[in-house]
Every structure is written in structure tokens, then in C-alpha cells.
């Protein structure tokens, strides 16, 4: 085992721990995070496996394969985050709207 391997695994484990501690998420999201963690740990501990997969894909090195996968992966994550923000914005709008309508009802009631 080379020194970088346990460091990377500890960093990954910390990220996953932080995710579970700080974010409420659905079972499927949690399953995806755990699967990604397991896959990442496997490739850290067995770098040759990544090289073999890269050779099958015709990419060359394992590092290149991960680089290519990361680009659409990050795009996908960005879209997920944007979608989440949009949903929160809609919920927020609904709250502000109902507050405005209720306030108007109350002040109309007071005037009567």
C-alpha cells in the first residue's frame, strides 16, 4: 500500500460521513452515495483495475477514463442542484404569496 491510498480513503470516508450527518436525503440518494464511495475505494486500492477498464474502453490510462467520466458527471450534478434550487424557489414563492394574501385578508377584516 502506498501512503496516498489511506489518505484518499480517509478523505472519502469523511465526505460521506459529512453527507449523512448534514443532509437529509432519500434512500436512493444514499444508496448512490454509498455505491460511489465503494467504487472509489476499490479503484484507489486497486489502481490496476482502473487501467484495465480504461484499456477495455480504449482510453489508455485509468486516470484518463476518470477524467472523461467526471465531465458529464459534474454536468449531471450541476443540473440536479439547479433543479433543486428551482424547486426551493417555487416553494419559497408560494410561502411569500400566501403570506401576502393572508395579510391582505387580515387588514381587510380590521377595516370592516
Amino acid at each position: 500500500m502506498i501512503p496516498i491510498q489511506p489518505i484518499l480513503v480517509v478523505l472519502l470516508l469523511s465526505s460521506v460521513g459529512l453527507y449523512f450527518a448534514k443532509f437529509r436525503s432519500k434512500v436512493w440518494d444514499r444508496a448512490i452515495v454509498v455505491s460511489l464511495f465503494a467504487a472509489a475505494t476499490l479503484f484507489i486500492m486497486q489502481p490496476e483495475l482502473a487501467n484495465r477498464l480504461a484499456a477495455v474502453a480504449g482510453v489508455g490510462r485509468g486516470a484518463d477514463l476518470f477524467f472523461y467520466i467526471t465531465i458529464p458527471g459534474l454536468g449531471f450534478v450541476l443540473l440536479l442542484v439547479l433543479s433543486r434550487i428551482r424547486k426551493l424557489e417555487q416553494q419559497w414563492t408560494q410561502v411569500v404569496r400566501e403570506l401576502a394574501l393572508v395579510r391582505a385578508e387580515i387588514s381587510a377584516g380590521e377595516r370592516r
Binding site: R86, Q90, R97, A100, R103, A104
Partner: protein, 228 residues
């Protein structure tokens, strides 16, 4: 349909200098005026004190589309027979509302859309840079909705009771103008464009929408398509 059953919705954001002047003729005409203060910070609501109108206040600024939908929600709950969208900055002519209501009252259409490009004299009054931006908006709206109109970002429009019941705005910002067109098409509502004179006074020219806002609208439309 009595005038009181017609709700004129005025989205308001930082227009303290002109809003009172804008709504006075609407009140005199006997319409139910619903002003939606979208989190103004210049005391716009205070400028309306003493007037017999409905004032709805957003606790924070959400955008013109959100303000219109708040006013429309109020109108739906109060049994409005038609709603008019009317900008707070004094660009529209309140006297035209009766003209716009004509086809709705006669049951000929569901939506009347104002256009500043139907009459040569109205088009000529539009500053050239705004004309360029608005024509860009016409192309973008056409591509997104399949509806090719002469003016897609005119804030003056009238919706019948049926259109009011069916159209729900989800876009908070200025892209609601394109969203409305999409809804008209999706719900197979009848529509007609009518000439709407826009007053480009010194105040309106100074305030106007910044050019880069068009970019924001485009981004919002793409997001709406992706995540609807």
C-alpha cells in the same frame, strides 16, 4: 360583467414616483385595482395610502411574474370575471382597457395581448435599442412557444375568466411573458393582438429594463424547459 368584477393587476416594484398617478384613472373608471408590491424598498406602498384599492405585499422581491400570479390568485379567489395586467410605471393608457375588454365581453376571445408594433405611430415611438431587443424577444418567444406575435413583452394584456382559471404562472421573472404565450397555446385558448400605445416619457426611458435582462430571460426559459 360589471367594472368592479374586472380586476386590474398592477405589479409594483420601486415606482413610488409614478404609481399613484398610474392607478388613479383606473380607480376612477370603477375597476377593482389590485396592486402587488413586490418587496419595494422606496416606499411605493406608502404612495398609495388613502386609495380604495387592494394592496398585496410580497415580503421580499420575487419578480414581475410572481407578482402577477399573486394578483391573479387573489382575483381567482374573489371571483373576478376578467383580469387586466397593467404596468405600474405609467407606460400604458388606462383608457384603452375598455377597448381591450370589448372582444372578451363579446365572447370572441380568451386573451387580448397588447402590441406596440401593430400601428406605425406606436412603433415609431419605441426607442431603437428597445426595438432591437424586443424583436429579439419575439424570435426567442416564437421558437420557444411556436406563437409568432408582433410584440411578446408588452405588459398590457387582458385575460377572460376562462383564461384566468387555466393559466398559472410559474416563472417569477420577466420570462413570464413567454410563459403566458406557451400556456395560451398549450391550453388552446383563443387570443387576439390589439394596438397598445406605450408612453416613453423621461421616467420610463431612464428606468427601463437593462439590456442584459434579455440574457436572464433566455436563461430562465431554458431552465423552464429543462425542469418544468
Amino acid at each position: 360583467m360589471s367594472d368592479a368584477e374586472i380586476f386590474v393587476i398592477v405589479p409594483l416594484y420601486n415606482e413610488a414616483a409614478v404609481v399613484r398617478e398610474t392607478v388613479m384613472p383606473l380607480l376612477k373608471a370603477g375597476y377593482t385595482v389590485v396592486v402587488v408590491d413586490d418587496g419595494s424598498s422606496d416606499g411605493s406602498s406608502k404612495a398609495l395610502e388613502g386609495l380604495r384599492l387592494v394592496l398585496l405585499r410580497h415580503a421580499v422581491n420575487l419578480g414581475q411574474g410572481a407578482a402577477l400570479e399573486t394578483g391573479m390568485t387573489y382575483a381567482r379567489r374573489r371571483g373576478a370575471k376578467a383580469v387586466v395586467h397593467f404596468d405600474a410605471d405609467g407606460q400604458h393608457d388606462g383608457a384603452q382597457i375598455a377597448e381591450f375588454l370589448g372582444p372578451i365581453r363579446r365572447g370572441e376571445t380568451d386573451v387580448v395581448l397588447g402590441s406596440r408594433f401593430l400601428r406605425r405611430e406606436d412603433a415609431a415611438r419605441t426607442p431603437w435599442l428597445r426595438r432591437v431587443v424586443l424583436h429579439g424577444g419575439i424570435v426567442v418567444s416564437g421558437l420557444f412557444t411556436g406563437m409568432w406575435l408582433t410584440d411578446t413583452h408588452n405588459g398590457f394584456r387582458v385575460l377572460s375568466e376562462k383564461a384566468l382559471a387555466e393559466i398559472r404562472l410559474r416563472e417569477n421573472g420577466f420570462s413570464h411573458a413567454t410563459e403566458i404565450l406557451g400556456e395560451i397555446r398549450r391550453r388552446k385558448l383563443r387570443y387576439v393582438e390589439m394596438p397598445a400605445a406605450i408612453r416613453y416619457g423621461a421616467y420610463a426611458k431612464a428606468k427601463g429594463q437593462p439590456f442584459w435582462n434579455s440574457f436572464n430571460i433566455l436563461i430562465d426559459l431554458v431552465m423552464e424547459k429543462l425542469f418544468r
